[in-house]
Amino acid sequence: MFRRLHDAAGERVPFTVDGRAAEALAGDTVAAALLANGITVCRNTPVSGAPRSPYCMMGVCFDCLVTIDDVGNRQGCQVRVAPGMRIETQDGKREIDR
């Protein structure tokens, strides 16, 4: 659904999504990196289970919540991808101890 601009350049940053290897460009937010990797559903909501994607990309809508390095419900659009980062999509409520 999303393609990078042709002139997009930068260092490649390896990370994982749900245990699978993926790649971002330096400077990408987690939400942007997920979209660039074709992952459009980052979570199912805690109450109704509806699927959600990153939406506002500016920290307002809280739709891009994911688990980053074992911390649940982080806003993907507010965190830059770092090398080796472990990102997990969320199904329902986060667990209290992660």
């Binding site: 805690p46 109450v47 911390v71 649940g72 419900n73 329902g92 409520k93 986060r94 667990e95 209290i96 101890d97 992660r98």
Partner: protein, 377 residues
């Protein structure tokens, strides 16, 4: 009867919060023609900010009848929840797993034990089961308690609900019963005439009713004297924190900490004298958050999504006021700070008496006349 004397409604309930809604719903359920006069969006609204406990333990020291009244509501709460579900399809998520009140030191646990003993030693007290548990007993139910928890009191009658859904269920139910909800109708004056009441509302509108119930929370202090009653209530501010939704881990309401049906954890219980100011004070929220993390350290990992402050409606002794006017017998006042806990009573026990036109003697103890007695020197 002339057009002028005709009443529009059997009962006008002033106040659309939880006390007013529950009472109005109970009246409408009995076939009364009911109007609810409410203020607008901007009003002092404790019913939007409460903690949603249905709580019995510890209540009634100084007025055992209040302990019995609370217990009665707790016992009827399941019935209320199923009546609302049957009528409206809304599940208000009432659960009664019993409640813990944690103690963060041996001294606090001992104080709690003594307080509950004193409560149950009162002559007229309707006794109920409770238990003082040591740390090991509490840890058996909740292994994730923090090292500072010395123990807890536990009462099997305590529970909780989703009070926003309760609110919505009452209003949906009122609508189905054909009651009239009239927002933006702050009452300016009340006139007793020809055996009925005329309520003049802001902007000059008028509502006529055979009987009235003042359930306007803080505003009842202003309204009650208009009909020969008094409701000397004052605001007491309380802060509430709610965290992000998390998978269920906490089965019990734990005094000032509970996990809601949707997964958020509510943390509450500050008591501040701040007039009608509902500004959130970071110093207060950090104090109550710190205490909650001492009880359950794993709460420290959760993100806070919202904090707010609301104003309890407190009478001088903290107990409810229910009273029928002597000079204008069709006028009643009902006010308390436990609109959730007592909702079942307001709907199922108080409303039938108001429909019948008379509060029985058992309500005398709740009269505001108790505040007229001069204090002993």
């Amino acid at each position: 009867m002339s057009a002028e004397q005709r009443s529009d409604y059997d009962v006008a309930v002033v106040g659309g919060g939880l006390v007013g809604s529950a009472t109005a719903w109970g009246l409408a359920r009995l076939g009364q023609k009911v109007a609810i006069l409410d203020e607008g969006d901007v009003a002092v609204r404790p019913s939007r900010g409460n903690f949603a406990l249905v709580w019995v333990q510890g209540k009634g020291l100084g007025m055992p009848e209040y302990g019995a009244w609370t217990r009665r509501s707790s016992d009827s709460w399941g019935e209320l929840a199923s009546l609302l579900r049957d009528q409206t399809g809304i599940d208000v998520c009432f659960e009664r797993p019993g409640g813990f009140m944690p103690a963060l030191s041996e001294a606090e646990l001992e104080d709690r034990a003594n307080q509950l003993k004193r409560l149950h030693n009162q002559q007229a007290m309707l006794r109920y089961d409770y238990e003082i548990m040591d740390r090991a007993a509490v840890a058996k139910e909740m292994p994730f308690i923090g090292p500072d928890v010395a123990g807890a009191s536990y009462c099997p009658l305590d529970g909780h609900c989703n009070s926003l859904k309760l609110f919505r269920a009452f209003h949906t139910g009122l609508n189905r019963f054909g009651a009239a909800y009239l927002p933006n109708r702050r009452v300016e004056s009340i006139e007793h005439r020809d055996g009925g009441f005329r309520l003049t509302t802001v902007g000059g509108g008028e509502v006529r009713a055979g009987r009235i119930v003042l359930a306007a929370g803080h505003d009842s202090a202003r309204l009650a004297p208009m009909v020969g009653l008094s409701a000397p209530v004052r605001p007491e501010r309380g802060h509430v924190i709610v965290t992000e939704k998390t998978a269920p881990f906490l089965k019990f309401p734990v005094g000032y900490i509970r996990q809601t049906d949707e997964g958020g954890v509510m943390i509450g219980d500050s008591f501040e004298d701040a007039g009608f100011d509902t500004t959130v004070r970071p110093g207060v929220t950090s104090t109550i958050a710190e205490r909650a993390v001492r009880v359950f350290p794993l709460l420290g990992k959760l993100n806070v999504v919202r904090t707010w402050a609301a104003l309890r409606v407190l009478s001088p002794d903290g107990f409810p006021i229910y009273e029928q006017s002597v000079t204008m017998p069709g006028a009643f006042v009902a006010t308390c700070h436990s609109g959730v806990t007592l909702a079942a009573n307001h709907a199922l026990a108080l409303a039938p008496h108001i429909a019948a036109g008379k509060l029985p003697e058992e309500f005398d103890v709740f009269s505001a006349r108790r505040f007229d007695v001069p204090k002993a020197a």
